[in-house]
Amino acid sequence: MDARELTMVEAVTLALRRAMLDDPSVVLLGEDIGTNGGVFRATEGLKAEFGYKRVMDTPLAESMIAGMSVGMATQGLKPVAEIQFMGFIFAAMEQIVCHAARMRNRTRGRLHCPLVIRAPFGGGIGAPEHHSESTEALFAHIPGLRVVIPSSPVRAYGLLLSAIRDPDPVLFLEPKRIYRIVRQRVTDHGKGLPLDTCFTLRQGDDITLVSWGAAMHETLQAATQLQQRGVSVEVIDVATISPLDMDTILSSVMRTGRCVIVQEAARNGGIASEISARLAEDAMAYLRAPVQRVTGFDTPMPYPRHEHFYLPTVADIVNACEKTLEAPSTTAWRPYEIF
């Protein structure tokens, strides 16, 4: 089993191929995923290898892609559908909310819906409007759906394999900004990574940084900067943002007493809010400073020329950490605003 240095998008392809080799019921479908290999090349070579019956170029209709996936999934196939960009997933929303996420419950287990919807998401690559959304929170609020976001090639491989093997619907969001930013040795060992736990990427005692997706990249850089200044930073990649593994986050924050959550998505009603609320409820006595959120703004992503105005930066994260670290570890807090 050779390990190769892969980008995240290559790791996605590797996992798709592995899943297809292992299980003949796994089929891929989506717009431009066949001969073209997907607009990001995530399905490159798979149609040539597995044929058009297992790698299906569909007509242009996201609701249909999701709806047919539901039908396929109830009859023993394991569809892995690609939505070309997350900004185009909304037409599929009715199928996801009303059917994929409910089939098992509605039929009390008689039918279930083992489908995966993959979609590249997030900003920072200068793409046109609707190509840069981070709306993962919308899906995390939908009961019955798993929402999984890898932030490295290794996790992309392992989490995608588990997502495909999972007997229930999974939305697998791929942070396209880091599709090709890092390479990692990935072994095609066929082992999945768990979908019910966060990943602790660095261990530390002074402050916990929590993030997921592309923002992990800046979060890790911020952690490095802080570490260089002598701060001991714990870094957690949430990875599966729903259902949320709060245990890992809680036990970290109970130790560090300080937490900054970083998300690229809009601020209001994001996953950062859920995590922050849960920390305040369940770990209040351990908090030495209010949890801070570093987030995008309550607007859509600006057009590409100005998207750097929107995205959280390393400096933003470091600033938030500094504020949090400066806070006296008493209750002498007074209301203040980041936003």
Binding site: V27, K53, M56, T58, P59, A61, S63, M64, A66, G67, M68, S69, V70, G71, M72, A73, T74, Q75, G76, L77, P79, E94, Q95, C98, H99, M103, R104, N105, R106, T107, R108, G109, R110, L111, H112, P143, G144, R146, D166, P167, D168, D196, P243, L244, D245, M246, D247
Partner: protein, 366 residues
């Protein structure tokens, strides 16, 4: 390009007076017709009973299929065991013929998910679909699954006339034609979508012609003629099963009563139209024909009504005797295995419904 592929045949064998318009298809025997008649009478009895239960508070909102029994029975008799049925919500007759029990049907409309534990041939069938037209693409997906395993079976999906306006309808047909899927789509054109008559739903003069947009065959049948429905569906299913592609069938009928028990059709439609429609309803015409053929007599009718009453009453009794679900049951089927958050919520729920803090009967507590 100056013309379009188009096959818009209008099937009708038995007209509203119970007269033959054309000779019956050769596979239609007297026994078949008597069986079809019995099924239709049973479903009408069930329907009446369920509406009565609703009026007395023992049933929730229920969509009657009064007047559209020939569609459901025609489909149900044409489907084979291994075909997959993808229903909408007005398909009591077909569900019954698939092997779903009358009790399960009542259970669903009585507000209990466990009714969806379909039995019989329906064990792989999809559950009732309430968001209009969304089932159309499920059926396309089912057909893809059948085709990809080269199974010689077909998927059959139903929808209402109103559903033809929703994008999912077109998206599914387009795919079915393009991929030559083993899919039969039947429109129950009962001419109303709640209060919206077909004339306010589309300018298309038929719904069958919507097939042309997808490049597939569209057929129009008299949906009050169980022979016509059966014949068209049977042909379409055979075509699908033998790899010859999809068909759209428009079955023209009429919704003889309210949209559901929550509706009051007198607010928006003329009683005269309803009375006229009663002249064309499916059960009477078949009964007339059977009588005319001396294939049915009053004694048989009495015996049938008695048998039907017994069957329906037994189903009602079983329905009324159903125990409620456990307070945490709805938490258990969200995922194959309980997640950490749901386990915590289950614990909370167990505590919540174990105390006598007033939450025992939360409706009252509110």
């Amino acid at each position: 390009m100056n013309h379009v592929s188009q096959r818009n045949t209008h099937y009708c064998f038995l007209d509203a007076q119970g007269q033959n318009l054309e000779p019956l298809p050769s596979d239609i025997s007297l026994d078949w017709l008597r069986a079809a008649y019995r099924h239709m009478v049973l479903i009408r009895a069930l329907d009446k009973k369920v509406v009565a239960l609703q009026r007395t508070g023992q049933m929730r909102t229920y969509p009657s299929c009064l007047g559209q029994e020939a569609i459901g029975v025609g489909i149900g008799l044409a489907l084979q065991e291994n075909d997959i049925f993808v229903p909408y919500y007005r398909d009591q007759a077909t569900l019954y013929l698939r092997g779903v029990t009358l009790t399960q049907i009542m259970q669903i409309w009585g507000g209990d998910e466990r009714g969806h534990l379909f039995t019989g041939h329906a064990h792989r069938d999809l559950p009732l679909c309430i968001p209009i037209a969304t089932q159309m693409t499920h059926a396309a997906g089912v057909a893809v699954a059948l085709k990809s395993r080269a199974e010689p079976h077909a998927a059959l999906v139903t929808c209402g006339d109103g559903a033809t306006s929703k994008g999912d309808f077109s998206e599914a047909l387009n795919l079915a034609a393009l991929w030559h899927l083993p899919l039969v789509s039947v429109i129950n054109n009962n001419q109303w979508a709640i209060s919206v008559p077909l004339t306010m739903q589309t300018a298309a003069s038929t719904l069958a012609q919507k097939a042309i947009a997808a490049g597939m065959d569209g057929i129009r049948v008299d949906g009050n003629d169980v022979v016509a429905v059966y014949h068209a569906v049977d042909l379409a299913l055979k075509k699908a099963r033998s790899g010859k592609g999809p068909t759209l069938i428009e079955a023209v009928s009429y919704r003889l009563t309210d949209h559901t028990t929550a509706d009051d059709a007198t607010r928006y439609r003329d009683i005269q139209q309803v009375n006229d429609a009663w002249e064309r309803e499916p059960i009477k015409r078949l009964q007339t024909w059977l009588h005319a053929q001396h294939a049915w007599d009053p004694a048989q009718e009495t015996a049938l009504l008695e048998a039907v009453r017994t069957e329906v009453d037994a189903a009602v009794a079983a329905y009324l005797a159903l125990p409620p679900q456990a307070a945490d049951e709805f938490l258990q089927f969200q995922f194959a295995q309980m997640t950490k958050p749901l386990t915590a919520q289950q614990r909370y729920q167990q505590v919540r419904f174990a105390t006598d803090s007033g939450t025992q009967d939360p409706q009252g507590a509110r």
